[in-house]
Amino acid sequence: MLAIEYRQDGAVVLAGRLDASQAEAAQAFLDKVQGTVTLDCNGLEYISSAGLGVLLKTQKRLLAAAGKLRLVGLKPHLRDIFTYSGFDQLFEIESAS
């Protein structure tokens, strides 16, 4: 399952599994964010192409309005998915320390 919510500082916290069954809910949430948004991925365990699609659509919308998504805390195995898909070139990614 996926949990998605705002942190007090305005960052968006993603936790759990962002798969095709959760993509719709995630998209609905992210459709409302504005400006430069930090996505806290420390609790994200899994992402599929459906999840990548959600992030891509959001990134395109924010970039058009001079905003963007910043990903922080991405786990190494998810970082690989971003690399394989070329998404590391589309997002500013700060890996888990």
């Binding site: 798969d19 899994y46 891509l56 395109k60």
Partner: protein
């Protein structure tokens, strides 16, 4: 003395008896100025003296004790007879046989360095009068050399005979080994292993593992004794069984016919204990007769216990079979192992007289049952050697293991809807745990399964059939198969690749899932069955593949 030294050198060379004796006789004649000479060899077994060589005389045997030769052999002293026909001990029969007249005669015992009599040397008819004391001294020196040479020739002959015997045994071993399977038969869902370690060059044990008409023939035989005779018996049984089953005999017929044939040919005190089984790999039913061969164990993987089966008959060849009990039938379940080990293992004693025993065999099987049967064979041999330490192997060691492989796959069907994704994930997690698949491959497999499943949901909307998912454990990883029915073909291996370097405005989510699968899977295969309108996609993931998965 010069003549003696020359003779000594001459005697050092020949290795065969007749050449050597010829040398001795001609040397004696020359040194002593005699007309004839002869060497009688002592045949200890018959207690006879045998005239092997005498110039102009055919071989003659006389009982030890007869005549002057016999007296010399008995008393081991030199006998110098100046006029034979005046001596009551002289036996004229040799002269009669040869037509030669003996006048003077010098007879000497040939005694080897161990003080055993090897023969008697005689020199006949010195040309210049009777033999004198100087002749006796010369002849004694010559006799000593002759005895040593004779002994050496006999030892050489024994060595050559021993070597011939060893070579014959070596050939017998080659023949016996050639009857054993050179490679283990490949049987679907089974793993087999076997070994044969004879105590001597050839052994009284045999085994067989062979596919005969879709069934696996399993044999372990142990003839009484070991060495060449039992080796021939078990090899004969081995060949008869193979032939019987190749000709389509059923188990009972083969058992009875081979038994009765062995009963006719084997010596009365000989027999062969043998397990003869047929395994149907399709039904997993093992049917066997055991002629006195035991214990027969089946390791049950589910309960981690051993079942023991009794022989169904007396040992083969003991007597004719008049009434045979029904064969024993055993249903092999996933992970079960048939354990056949010859008594050379169970009864192998270490230096303190303790036998290897059944418990050690069972403990080993229980410990390494999940591994390959080749490893089990090696492990058993290793355990036996370690246990025996310096104790010599007294009996042949033979073992046959047949394992029904554990189920390596899990299959389930899922509703054609996105909401089934958590069920897919849960199913995979369970299968990974049950099949012992490397958990680090989990996230990669989840991704692949989801990508393919969502494709099937999106593009197979016309179908109401559930989607099948199978996970199978393979060496070092997992094989994932998704089956999509009532759909049009869509070969994912031919779908265009994604340009991952395109700028963001050109990037679309479509095709990304298949792109990721091709990146992550070691292999991707697609097949379509037209009659069922069924797409089948198989992916392999191993730790050595391109996946990096989670850590």
């Amino acid at each position: 003395m010069e003549a003696i030294l020359r003779v000594t050198r001459g005697l050092a060379a020949p290795f065969d008896l007749s050449t050597m004796l010829g040398e001795v006789v001609s040397a004696a004649k020359q040194v002593l100025g005699a007309e004839r000479g002869s060497v009688w060899l002592y045949d200890a077994a018959a207690n006879e003296l045998v005239l092997e060589v005498a110039t102009g005389i055919k071989p003659i045997r006389v009982p030890s004790g007869t005549g002057i030769v016999g007296a010399c052999a008995r008393e081991r002293v030199i006998i110098n007879v100046p006029d034979c026909y005046a001596d009551p001990r002289f036996d004229p029969s040799v002269d009669k046989a040869s037509g030669y007249r003996t006048r003077s005669l010098l007879t000497l015992p040939l005694v080897d360095h161990k003080d055993s009599l090897v023969g008697v040397m005689q020199v006949l008819n010195k040309r210049a009068g009777p033999f004198d004391a100087y002749d006796e001294a010369l002849a004694t020196a010559l006799a000593a050399q002759c005895a040593v040479a004779l002994q050496r020739v006999r030892m050489t002959a024994a060595l050559i005979e021993g070597e011939r015997m060893r070579q014959a045994l070596e050939m017998a071993r080659v023949v016996q080994m050639s009857t054993l399977p050179t490679t283990m038969p490949a049987v679907p869902s089974y793993d087999v292993g076997a070994m044969f370690e004879p105590a001597e060059l050839t052994g009284g044990d045999t085994y067989d593992l062979a596919l005969v008409d879709e069934r696996l023939l399993v044999v372990l035989g142990d003839a009484t004794g070991h060495g060449i005779a039992p080796a021939l018996s078990v090899t004969q049984m081995h060949a008869m069984l193979r032939m019987a089953f190749r000709l389509g005999a059923d188990l009972e017929t083969a058992f009875v016919q081979v038994n009765d044939r062995l009963a006719e040919t084997l010596a009365d005190d000989r027999f062969i204990t043998a397990f003869i089984g047929l395994l149907d790999p399709a039904t997993h039913e093992l049917t066997f007769h055991s002629g006195g061969q035991g214990p027969v164990f089946v390791y049950r993987a589910a309960t981690k216990t051993f079942e023991r089966y009794k022989p169904t008959s007396f040992p083969l060849g003991a007597m004719r079979v008049t009434a045979l009990r029904p064969a024993t039938k055993v249903q092999l379940l996933p992970g079960d192992i048939l354990v056949l080990v010859s008594d050379g293992v169970y009864e192998y004693e270490n230096a303190s007289g303790e036998a290897f025993g059944e418990a050690r065999v069972q403990q080993l099987v229980a410990k390494v049952h999940a591994g390959s049967m080749a490893d089990l064979v090696a492990g058993l041999m290793n355990d036996v050697r370690t246990f025996a330490s310096s104790a010599k192997q007294e009996d042949d060691i033979t073992a046959v293991f047949v394992k029904r492989l554990p189920e390596n796959r899990r299959t389930a069907e899922f509703a054609r809807h996105f909401t089934a994704i958590p069920e897919l994930v849960a199913f995979s997690a369970g299968a990974f745990a049950e099949l012992g698949i490397d958990p680090s491959l989990g996230p990669t497999v989840d991704l692949a399964v989801e990508e393919l499943f969502t494709n099937m949901v999106k593009y197979g909307a016309g179908s109401t059939a559930p989607v099948g998912l199978t996970l199978a454990a393979i060496a070092g990883g997992v094989e994932v198969t998704l089956v999509d029915r009532d759909v049009e073909p869509f070969d994912i291996t031919r779908s265009p690749d994604v340009d991952i370097d395109a700028p963001i405005e050109k990037r679309e989510p479509g095709g990304l899932g298949l792109h990721l699968i091709r990146k992550l899977a070691e292999s991707v295969t697609y097949t379509y069955a037209q009659e069922r309108r069924e797409s089948r996609i198989s992916l392999r993931f191993t730790g050595s593949g391109r996946t990096s998965g989670s850590r």
